[in-house]
Symmetry: C2
């Protein structure tokens, strides 16, 4: 029998690995098992599918199973779920949901890309059909179908993380009355500091979305969500409480999990088991600034780590050095970017951080269409080492965070940021780039 | 008598230095001589003033002479030109154009920020009033006044550098018939490679601006510009042939000039003369990638080097490590950014460069409003060291060049670019950031 790689999970991490392996090992038998109905899709595009920016789930698919079969000779099997691994026997037990049967598949090497699932707290009624998680394209398609099929005037979004906010805007744009219920005193509490979140609150409320902070959801029933403050009308409830890694399959087989329940991997994406790799939302990764393993469910990381796993699975050599904590989102016309550590995270990581916070404009101050923009920059006291940044503002504000992400990766101090040769022309920036204005303020405080 | 700093030139470099000195040395007598009528203005804003985006020259002024006098106790003297320096006697000879007299001013320290002037080739008629250079705000105000005052239906822009292109668009938007005459076979020939320039040609011609390449201007007369191909109607001719540093004042006093005729400075902005500093468009600077002194006339550099000069003049310590060659512009809706070395420059600097060139989109491919975007990335053969990038494309394309500018500064190779944790969400980017798509292509070629 030919040597076989089995890939568990047909989205970004799994299929990136599979295509890398195929390119380097034309001889290998590559089988990819996907429990859902889609391969290699943009889960990040689901809010735009629901909002109507994108016409159909198919548009979010980068490569279809047919393409993988025809162009890459990868045996993609949809609606087939890996339910158990036997690492000694080198077999995976597969539940074939399409034909309602179970079979075993031999493997020589295994790639785990099982993804993550939306957190579902154990609340009365959370299993009802009107309560939707948003993680897979099947989830997205189901939610869109529901929104099109029946009355969807009142929507409650549970949780104010970035998925929650994007889904809230999506339903708002569909014409629904939307309420966000967030237990913390602010949205994106794990992503940005309170002063930055305050601007997001403004943007949300400016859209006419109701934002309820410090309020907990207690139960669900058809047509209603009950919170600590009373009942809310809800034709549909959307869970935006974050996601948790699908580490059970690996864990049950004895593969080591990290502190967050994600499959623990080394810098080559190797798990604790010989010949078994993991990548994407199911695995942990390294935070280069906090210097600890974290679990982060992002398409960028899934693609990168899947590629690295694939190169190594094929006998090559590649490493993934980790993330610096970059993320970006948009609420209507307000953009938000962050990277590195927030004030809270810097304190947790043991840094004494100085904070610069400046209010500037997205273009030269005199340029038509210039919009307000806030840059918050954190640097280590004494050394001036850049620790992180948060940017909130109008058109063109947020993607500037990449400059700080590169600076964090390079280990720049704020003087190096001040010296950077950043692009300036009046339609793009002030002559001192906003990041450098913040860096100069920080420089005066270290 | 109190110790005195004389600053020659009242724009970005001179006044940045002056304010830094004032902050650190409240005791010092600070006199700033400006031969024109304005201080601390955005020369880069002139095209937008002419186009009508900005209402008046005053809007381009960051700080007025009155503000410098009142808030910073800087004795700003307008329309007073330093015409000679005596370094032994420590005096500057000043021509007071306002009162038509000449006087001498003692100094202890001197800051030279005399700027640059538009290149004016020795052609018949170039001194005519209908031929305008665009460098100072006085130039810009005069040109705007001319455009408002009299017929301005036909405009010829001589030279297709970025100032020429921005002025061409400005007059096009004022409703003029605009022709650009460029002697080289492409626009921006010193800024981008031919393949990238081709996209700018499309953008220019798409506006209805006539673009004449490989054609030389031979003479000017009232109402006409004569080129190697014949006469062109021209109510106004605008020079966009680049600028040359105003190094004569320093050179005549025996201060060393660099290879481009700019005042040569060290990393603290010190000239060859004791107690004499220079910064901005009149001085040379260091190219960190090409590793040689260059002359570059940009507001960003003027502000940064002026600040560094000021800190050192005040007895502090600051250095300017140089530039990486970043520039950005916009022709209608087409954005252009560049940093590091072009193919031509890389060859000149002795690098064997591999080139990656990718065509992607500014947002996720499925996202509404996504626009084409081209990223060209150069890396050193063998080592993979990033050497430069050029980006051309729609809304949000060009400012991404900052990420490469930071990478060049850090000395990243293309693998480090592939690994960078860049921000992704569908409204902002593809999941593999365009810069990383280019880096992956380069990685396959080194």
């Amino acid at each position: 029998m030919r040597e076989r790689l089995v890939v568990v999970g047909g989205d970004a991490a799994g299929m990136s690995a599979a295509t890398q392996v195929r390119r380097r090992r034309p001889d290998l038998d590559v089988v990819a098992l996907e429990k859902g109905s889609w391969t290699s899709y943009s889960a990040c595009g689901i809010p735009y599918l629901v909002a109507g920016d994108v016409d159909s789930p198919e548009q979010l698919v980068a490569r279809s199973p047919e393409q993988f079969r025809a162009e890459h000779r990868i045996d993609v099997r949809l609606r087939q779920e890996a339910v158990a691994l036997d690492l000694d026997a080198r077999t995976v037990e597969v539940r074939d949901h399409e034909h309602d049967r179970t079979y075993r598949l031999d493997f020589d090497q295994l790639m785990i890309g099982t993804g993550a699932h939306p957190v579902r707290p154990d609340l009365p009624g959370i299993g009802r059909p009107s309560v939707y998680g948003v993680q897979t394209l099947d989830d997205g398609a189901a939610l869109l179908d529901r929104a099109r099929r029946a009355r969807c005037d009142d929507v409650v979004v549970v949780g104010g993380g970035y998925i929650g906010l994007e889904m809230a805007e999506a339903f708002h744009r569909r014409g629904a009355r939307v309420t966000i219920v967030e237990g913390a005193d602010r949205v994106m509490s794990r992503t940005v500091d309170a002063d930055i979140a305050a601007h997001i609150h403004e943007a949300i409320r400016g859209l006419g979305i109701e934002l309820r902070l410090g309020e907990r959801v207690e139960s669900f029933e058809d047509g209603w969500v009950h919170t600590s403050s009373g009942p809310l009308r809800a034709d549909v409830a959307v869970l935006g409480l974050g996601v948790a890694p699908n580490g059970e399959l690996a864990g049950a087989a004895g593969i080591a999990l990290g502190p967050h329940g994600a499959v623990h991997v080394d810098r080559r994406q190797r798990t604790s088991a010989e010949g078994v790799y993991a990548a994407g939302d199911c695995a942990d990764t390294w935070h280069r600034v906090a210097r600890r393993p974290i679990h982060i469910a992002l398409g960028t990381v899934a693609n990168k780590t899947g590629r690295v796993a694939g190169i190594n699975l094929a006998g090559g050599y590649a490493t993934f050095p980790g993330v610096v904590g970059t993320a970006i989102t948009k609420i209507c016309s307000t953009e938000l970017g962050r990277t590195g550590l927030t004030e809270t995270e810097a304190a947790e990581a043991g840094y004494d951080a100085v904070v610069a916070r400046i209010e500037v404009t997205t273009r030269a101050g005199y340029f038509p269409g210039t919009q307000p923009m806030i840059v918050k920059l954190l640097a280590e006291k004494g050394t001036g080492l850049v620790l992180g940044a948060q940017i909130v503002g109008g058109d063109g504000a947020a993607k500037r965070i990449d400059t700080v992400a590169a600076a964090l990766t390079a280990g720049f101090d704020v003087t190096a940021l001040v010296d950077l040769d950043l692009a300036y022309a009046p339609p793009f920036s002030s002559v001192w780039d906003p990041i450098q204005v913040a860096a100069r303020q920080a420089l005066g405080r270290i």
